[in-house]
Symmetry: C2
Subunit: 394 residues, 2 copies
């Protein structure tokens, strides 16, 4: 795959009580277009990632809504939904449209508005990502699902709550430097352990927050960028996606994420890279245990070793493989339908050398976006424009 | 575009009180795979069209659910949503994945379960396709929206309720011969005029019914079909999509569907065809006036003439341009997220020469799937395998 990124923007993540989804989407899209030095008229196709607009905003048809509010009614536009991997999929579909020659310029955005809905209705809405017949209907919601996963992982590998807490400590520290991050205060291991229990062993500080926010990137075909003299900073060279069973009960093990392992394998093959080539990563740390599993799925650590990566500083911004320099979902926040594109925004800044927590010589980056309990995952590989020797595998 | 169809199947449309979305999806997918003489293991990627599963089934993440229940957890899978054009878009995204070389075999399905939700909640859910801030919130729902459109069209062109009723008469007659059709009884113009008023001038028989149902098609790359010796019957040669403003109030005219005009223009250009090349058509007749507008948007009739097409028999199965030989949404039914794929299923049968209302020498077919009040449209052009001289434009 070879699709170029020419602009990327996220709104501030957090509470936006005075704004609606269309306002944040418009801010993100105009921000990304402005970075690309393009106007909305240049866009051929709009892909929007959103998980639960029908439940939180009484609004479907958000692809059209986004195009309309940009003043570009007439372009083709749609929405992708794959639970919390909704905009990972919107991004993948938009890349496919460019790669297929259907569009020269696609605008990919993601949004979720989570605060206006009360916490009970919101928890119920989020549970639509799980299996309604076998999970939600039994009262299992996401903190419970990840508590089951965390218990299984801790039992199998002798991991402690302290070990997992280090992931929250690292990501909160990174969030302090990220201007769009919802949380900008450091926490300690003790803070995480003593925070309010949500679903033991998961505490409030093991969990990502409830977030409003939107993100957008502009994708162009390399030919169009050449012809139009458009400046591009990063290139998407690999895309992989996979699924697992919708319900936890149907999996052989909770302590690994098969959908992520397969998506990573496919993305690496598509890009012609190996884990050793990768310099910086954004993973889907909806809960602390999710980051431990993610860095294993992506091939950076053996099974059971992912939990120690943060403890030993290996995933710190100056570590062997920096993970979630943005603050991740734990600090930056997790407006679910925006997260996949928000990861691309952060990685584009890394590849351009202008990230607030810049990784030295970052040339190859990976984004890992998960839906539900790991029932779906998308993985994308990006590299800096002009870098030779890796990428562009097919 | 050049993507081949190798299997197509619709469940019976109507009431399925004992079934859930996953059951109908599984029936449709296995039916399509069986027609293709393939097993689920051959599928690389699943695209599901669904509009409002979060509201009717408390279930998002339907791409994963479909893959899981087919026993193929591990494939890549997602959902597309563009209101009533959800599976038109799932089909377009699946075609793009094949065309981009991302997948050799994609399975595209659509589903909607509408009966289990009470009529008041359902009407409210369907209204999520409109603009929540400027339409739903003022009490405008879809029968009202299409009543406004019908009034404008009737006023502008001197069309009568009798003229529009002929569309319902024609489609109901076609539905009688279609085994999957929800309604299988003929109606008269008088029946339509005297039916219960829904939103005058729209009566119950000017309106499509509430429907449960699912449809699926298997798409393969021509190279894969050749290599594997897979029998294919139809080829997708053109895809076009477009949008209009989300809210009616922002449009210059209600009596035309600009999104459909643009989508058709793009699909025809992509396929290298003109309206004169087309032999058979499925259009989105959610209300009688919608078919009149559709046949104008697609270039078969001048503005204002579409209403007379059924009156004069031009859109009958033996007319100049047969429209909705399936019975259309008015008779076959409209499980909204399934409709776009259901149209492809019907047209594939026409191109294979085995449709219950077969059009003689049908070689080029067009599907027209509309979201909301015309805020989005997808148009696809298909042709019989082996036909030369049209199609394959790019």
């Amino acid at each position: 795959m070879r699709v170029t990124v020419s602009g990327a923007y996220s709104t501030k993540f957090g509470k936006h009580p005075g704004s609606s989804a269309r306002e944040l989407l418009t801010e993100a899209c105009l921000g990304a277009l402005d970075e690309a030095d393009m106007t909305p008229e240049a866009v051929d196709e709009v892909h929007v990632g959103n998980f639960m607009g029908e439940l939180t905003d009484d609004q479907g048809h958000m692809g059209v809504m986004t195009a309309d509010y940009l003043g570009t009614a007439g372009v083709s536009a749609t929405r992708s939904e794959s639970a919390c991997a909704s905009s990972g999929w919107a991004f993948r579909n938009a890349c496919a449209a460019v790669e297929a020659g259907i569009a020269d310029v696609t605008l990919v955005a993601g949004v979720e508005m989570m605060h206006a809905t009360g916490i009970e209705r919101l928890t119920d809405a989020l549970a639509d990502a799980a299996d309604n017949e076998y999970e939600n209907s039994c009262g299992l919601t996401f903190p419970g699902i990840f508590a089951l996963i965390a218990r299984d992982y801790m039992d199998e590998f002798g991991v402690t709550r302290e070990d997992l807490a280090e992931i929250s400590v690292k990501n909160r520290a990174n969030g302090v430097r990220n201007p769009v991050s919802q949380y900008q205060e450091e926490v300690t291991v003790e803070d995480v352990l003593e925070a309010r229990p949500i679903a033991p062993p998961v505490s409030l500080l093991d969990s990502c927050p409830i977030t409003d926010g939107a993100s957008a990137v502009v994708l162009v075909s390399p030919e169009y960028a050449d012809d139009e003299g458009i400046e591009t900073s990063a290139v998407v060279v690999g895309s992989g996606a996979s699924t697992d069973t919708l319900a936890l009960q149907d999996r052989d093990a909770l302590s690994r994420t098969l959908s992520a392992e397969r998506a990573a394998e496919r993305a690496y093959e598509n890009a012609g890279v190996t884990p050793e080539d990768i310099d910086v990563v954004e993973v889907h740390d909806c809960f602390t245990v999710a980051e431990a599993l993610a860095v294993e799925s992506l091939g950076f650590f053996e099974r059971g070793e992912g939990a120690y990566a943060a403890v030993e500083g290996e995933t710190a911004s100056d570590g062997r493989i920096p993970v979630n320099t943005s603050g991740g979902l734990l600090a930056k926040g997790h407006p679910v339908g925006a997260t996949g594109v928000a990861q691309i925004v952060e990685l584009t800044k890394q590849l351009e050398g202008r990230h607030p927590t810049q990784v030295e010589d970052a040339e190859v980056a990976v984004a890992h976006n998960v839906g539900g309990s790991g029932a779906s995952t998308t993985v994308h590989v990006l590299q800096s424009e002009g870098v030779e020797g890796v990428g562009g595998g097919s």
